[in-house]
C-alpha cells in the first residue's frame, strides 16, 4: 500500500518518521524566521501574506504536537493544523478581551515559543535511541545496570 499525504499505512518505519519530522522542523524554522525578518523590516507583499498564513495554520501546532504527541502517526498534517488555528485564535481573542491587543508582539511571542518548542522536540527526538540500535559506552569494572 502506498504512503501519501492522506493515508499512511502502519508499515511506515520509524526511520522515515524521524526524517520527515526533521524536514518539518526545518520548514517551520524557515517560515518563522523569514516572517520574523519581514515583520521587523516592515516589508509588505505577497510573500509575507503567504508566510503569515503558513505560520498561523501550521507552526505553533507542530511545535505542540511534536512534543506532546510525537508518536501519533497520520496526524502530522491534520492535528498540527487544528492545534495551530486553535491556539492562534485563542491568543488573539483573549488579548482583545483583556484590552492588550498587540498583534505583532503577540506574534513575536508565538514565534519564539514555537521555535523553542520545536528545538526541544528535535533534541528529544534525536536523543531517543531507535529500537535495536547497538550503543557503545565505557564500562568500568564493577559497574552494574
Amino acid at each position: 500500500m502506498e504512503e501519501t499525504f492522506f493515508f499512511r499505512p502502519a508499515t511506515t518505519v520509524q526511520h522515515n518518521d524521524n526524517r520527515a519530522a526533521r524536514a518539518i522542523d526545518m520548514a517551520c524554522a524557515v517560515v518563522t524566521g523569514a516572517l520574523l525578518t519581514l515583520t521587523a523590516m516592515g516589508w509588505v507583499g505577497f510573500a509575507r501574506i503567504l508566510l503569515t498564513f503558513a505560520f498561523a495554520v501550521y507552526v505553533p501546532g507542530w511545535a505542540v504536537v511534536a512534543n506532546c504527541a510525537p508518536m501519533v502517526r497520520g496526524s502530522r498534517l491534520a492535528l498540527p493544523v487544528l492545534v495551530s488555528v486553535t491556539l492562534v485564535t485563542a491568543a488573539a481573542t483573549v488579548t482583545i478581551w483583556l484590552h492588550v491587543w498587540h498583534p505583532v508582539q503577540l506574534f513575536d511571542i508565538e514565534a519564539s515559543a514555537s521555535i523553542a518548542l520545536i528545538g526541544i522536540a528535535a533534541v528529544r527526538r534525536e536523543s531517543r535511541r531507535p529500537p535495536g540500535e547497538l550503543v557503545l559506552r565505557n564500562v568500568a569494572p564493577g559497574d552494574t545496570e
Binding site: 500500500m1 502506498e2 504512503e3 501519501t4 499525504f5 492522506f6 493515508f7 499512511r8 499505512p9 502502519a10 516572517l35 519581514l38 515583520t39 516592515g42 516589508w43 509588505v44 507583499g45 509575507r48 501574506i49 508566510l51 503569515t52 498564513f53 505560520f55 498561523a56 495554520v57 506532546c68 504527541a69 508518536m71 501519533v72 502517526r73 497520520g74 496526524s75 498534517l77 491534520a78 492535528l79 493544523v81 487544528l82 492545534v83 488555528v85 486553535t86 492562534v88 485564535t89 485563542a90 491568543a91 488573539a92 481573542t93 488579548t95 482583545i96 484590552h99 491587543w101 498583534p103 505583532v104 503577540l106 506574534f107
Partner: protein, 628 residues
C-alpha cells in the same frame, strides 16, 4: 549501448505503469483553465443555458469525474493519483469563483471584513457588531493575520476563503476517515462526495466557515483517541438487524448486498463489542488520553467563541455516541455542554431578545422549513436553485440510509455513522436558526452521510462499464451537476459587482456618517472600520415595507420618514443606496420588477430634499442633507 538499452527499458516500464487517468487529469485541468479564462465576470457565469466557455468549463469537470471513476474501479487504488484528482476537484469547484469575479462574491462577506477592520483599527469590540461581538473568534484571528501579514483589509484574501476552508475540510475529513471502518475505496469515494456535495456555501469568510474546521477537528480527536467500546445491547441489536436483512433481502438484492469491502464484519467477530478492521492497522500509536481530552476541550472552547450554533450540534452528535458507549469518558460531553452553556449564559437575554431563541423551541416542523419558504415569489433561477438543493440533500440522505442498510446486511458496524449522520436533526426541535436550521443539519450530517453513501455506492474493482462499477461515477457526476446549479444558481443576484463595492466604499470614505438605507438587503456593507458609524436602517423592500403596489413614487415619503426617524436630514445627513445587485435581488425574489425600480429611481432623482451624491456603473447614492 547497454546504457541506452537500460534507459529504453526504464522508459517502457514507466510507460507501462501509466493509466488512462494520467492523461485525463491534465486534459481536465487544461479544459478548466481555458473555460475559466473565457468566462466573463458577469453575474451569471454558469447559467442554465451554457455558453461556449461554460461548456468548456463543464467539460473539464466532466473529464475529471470520469477519470476519478476509472481510478475507483482499479484493483489497486493509487493514493497519489486520487490525491491529485481530489485536489483538482476542490480547486475547480471552489477556486473558479475567486478567479472569475473581481470582488468577494457574497454580500455577507463584507460585514465580516468590517468587524475585522474595526478590531485592527480600534483594538476592541463594539456594540455596533451586534451579535458578532459575542462570537469574535474569526475576526480576532483575521485581524491578527492582517497585522502580521501587513494587510490593510481581509478583502485582499476573502475571495479565496472558500477554497482555503474546503482544503482544510478535506484535510481534516481525510484524517477522520482513518478512524472509521471503511476500506480505501470507500474512503476516497466519501472524500469526493463530501467535497462535491457541500452546497450550503458556509465556507466563505465567515465564523461558521471557520467553525466547521474546528468542529471537524473535535470529531477527529474524539473518533481517533477517545473511542470506547460499543455497548453490548447495541451490538446485539445490530446483529439482529443484520440477520433479519440477510433472511429477507438476500434473494431480492443479493448481489448488491454482497460484501465488497476488506474491513472486518460482525460475521467474522459475532461477539465483539468493538470492531477494529482497517482503523486499528492505521492507528497503532496514540497520544496520552489526557492530551487528547485537553486538546479536544481547548478546540471546543475556541469553537464556542467562534460560532454560536456549531458547539451545540457537535455536542449533540458526540453525545449520542457517548450514550451508546462509543465515546469515552462520558463526562467529556457534559464538560463540552458546560463550556457552551456557560459561555452563552451571560449573553442569553440579549441573544434571546434579538433573535427569539425560545420562540422556536418545540416547533420541529416549523423549524424544518428551508429559507426559500419565507419568500413569497421566487424567480426562475432561485426556484431552480432551491429545487436542486432539495434534490441534492435528499439524495445524500437517501444514499446514507441505503448505505446504513447495506452495511448492516454485510454485518458491518453502521450505528456510529448513522447516529452521526441523522442526530443533527435533533437541533430542529430547539431552534429555527432564521430558517437556516435545516442547512446546518445538512452541513453537520454531510461527512457521515458521505461515508454511508460511499458504502452504498462502493463496488468491487472491475471493468468500468460494468453496471455496478459505473454507479459511483454516475452518482458523483449527478452530485457535481446538482452542486453547480445550487452553488452558482443564485449568482445573478448573489454576486457583488465592482460597482456595488465602489459605491459603498465611496459613501463610507467620502461622506459624513448618517443613517443609511438600501433598496434590498443584498449589499456589500459595512466594509471598513468606520462604516460601523453609519446606522443601518431596515432596507426599503425589507420586512417592514408597507407598500401595496411594489415600489413606486408613492414610497418616497415612507423612505424619507424612515431616514428622518433615525436622525437623517436632522442631525446628520441620510443616505439611500441602490446598486445593480439590489435590483437583481428584488427581481429574483419577487420584491419588485426592474421596471418598477427604474420608475422609482426616476422619481427619486426629482424628490424634494434628496440629491444624487454618487452615480456610477448603475449604482446611485442619494443624500438627504441636513436642513429644513
Amino acid at each position: 549501448m547497454s546504457m541506452a538499452r537500460r534507459s529504453t527499458h526504464g522508459v517502457s516500464r514507466a510507460v507501462g505503469r501509466l493509466v488512462i487517468s494520467d492523461a485525463l487529469l491534465p486534459i481536465s485541468v487544461v479544459l478548466w483553465i481555458i473555460g475559466v479564462r473565457q468566462i466573463h465576470p458577469s453575474p451569471v457565469p454558469l447559467s442554465i443555458l451554457p455558453s461556449g466557455s461554460v461548456f468548456v468549463f463543464l467539460a473539464g469537470l466532466g473529464v475529471l469525474v470520469l477519470s476519478t471513476g476509472l481510478l475507483l474501479t482499479r484493483s489497486n487504488i493509487s493514493n497519489h493519483r486520487m490525491t491529485l484528482h481530489l485536489g483538482a476537484l476542490i480547486v475547480m469547484l471552489y477556486g473558479s469563483a475567486p478567479i472569475v469575479f473581481l470582488e468577494p462574491r457574497f454580500a455577507w462577506t463584507y460585514k465580516h471584513t468590517a468587524y475585522t477592520n474595526y478590531i485592527a483599527v480600534y483594538h476592541g469590540l463594539t456594540q455596533s457588531m451586534a451579535i458578532y461581538r459575542i462570537w469574535p473568534g474569526l475576526f480576532a484571528l483575521a485581524a491578527w493575520i492582517d497585522k502580521v501579514g501587513g494587510i490593510s483589509t481581509p478583502l485582499v484574501y476573502a475571495s479565496w476563503a472558500e477554497l482555503f476552508f474546503e482544503i482544510l475540510y478535506a484535510l481534516l475529513f481525510a484524517w477522520i476517515l482513518r478512524a472509521l471502518l471503511l476500506d480505501e475505496r470507500e474512503r476516497w469515494l466519501a472524500l469526493f462526495l463530501f467535497a462535491s456535495a457541500n452546497w450550503i456555501a458556509q465556507d466563505y469568510f465567515s465564523p461558521q466557515g471557520f467553525g466547521y474546521v474546528l468542529s471537524l477537528g473535535v470529531f477527529g480527536i474524539a473518533l481517533h483517541w477517545l473511542k470506547g467500546e460499543q455497548r453490548p445491547w447495541i451490538t446485539k441489536l445490530e446483529l439482529g438487524v443484520c440477520r433479519l436483512l440477510e433472511r429477507e433481502h438476500t434473494r431480492l438484492f443479493g448481489r448488491w448486498m454482497s460484501p465488497t469491502t476488506t474491513t472486518s464484519s460482525r460475521r467474522q467477530h459475532p461477539h465483539a463489542t468493538n470492531d477494529y478492521g482497517d482503523r486499528a492497522a492505521e492507528s497503532p500509536a496514540a497520544p496520552s488520553r489526557w492530551f487528547a481530552i485537553v486538546t479536544l476541550l481547548t478546540t471546543y472552547g475556541v469553537l464556542t467563541f467562534v460560532h454560536e450554533l456549531s458547539p451545540y450540534v457537535v455536542a449533540v452528535q458526540l453525545g449520542v455516541l457517548a450514550v451508546i458507549g462509543l465515546i469515552r469518558p462520558w463526562w467529556l460531553v457534559v464538560a463540552m455542554l458546560a463550556i457552551a452553556v456557560g459561555y452563552l449564559a451571560p449573553n442569553f437575554n440579549y441573544v434571546n431578545d434579538t433573535y427569539g431563541l425560545t420562540a422556536s423551541i418545540g416547533n420541529f416542523f416549523g423549524n424544518l422549513r428551508p429559507p426559500s419558504s419565507t419568500v413569497a415569489q421566487l424567480g426562475s433561477a432561485a426556484l431552480l436553485t432551491a429545487k436542486a438543493s432539495r434534490v441534492l440533500s435528499v439524495s445524500m440522505w437517501g444514499l446514507a440510509a441505503v448505505g446504513t442498510v447495506r452495511r448492516l446486511h454485510q454485518g458491518r458496524i453502521a450505528v456510529d455513522l448513522a447516529l452521526l449522520a441523522f442526530s443533527p436533526l435533533a437541533l430542529l426541535v430547539f431552534l429555527a436558526y432564521g430558517h437556516e436550521g435545516l442547512l446546518r443539519v445538512y452541513l453537520f450530517s454531510l461527512p457521515w452521510s458521505a461515508c454511508l453513501a460511499a458504502s452504498a455506492l462502493s463496488a468491487a474493482p472491475g471493468a468500468f462499464w460494468h453496471p455496478r462499477a459505473i454507479l459511483p461515477t454516475a452518482a458523483l457526476a449527478v452530485i457535481v451537476v446538482l452542486f453547480l446549479v445550487t452553488f452558482f444558481g443564485d449568482d445573478s443576484s448573489n454576486v457583488m459587482t465592482p460597482a456595488d463595492v465602489q459605491a459603498f466604499a465611496f459613501v463610507y470614505s467620502q461622506a459624513p456618517p448618517g443613517p443609511l438605507m438600501t433598496l434590498t438587503a443584498n449589499f456589500p456593507a459595512p466594509i471598513g472600520a468606520d462604516s460601523l458609524k453609519f446606522p443601518s436602517v431596515e432596507p426599503l423592500l425589507g420586512s417592514d415595507y408597507p407598500g401595496i403596489a411594489r415600489l413606486g413614487s408613492a414610497d418616497i415619503p415612507f423612505l424619507t420618514t424612515e431616514i428622518v426617524s433615525n436622525g437623517g436630514g436632522v442631525t446628520a445627513p441620510g443616505y439611500f443606496v441602490v446598486s445593480p445587485s439590489m435590483v437583481a435581488y428584488a427581481e429574483e425574489f419577487g420584491l419588485a420588477t426592474a421596471a418598477q425600480c427604474r420608475t422609482f429611481l426616476t422619481a427619486m432623482d426629482r424628490a424634494p430634499g434628496w440629491r444624487i451624491l454618487y452615480s456610477r456603473g448603475g449604482a446611485t447614492i442619494y443624500e438627504l442633507a441636513v436642513g429644513p
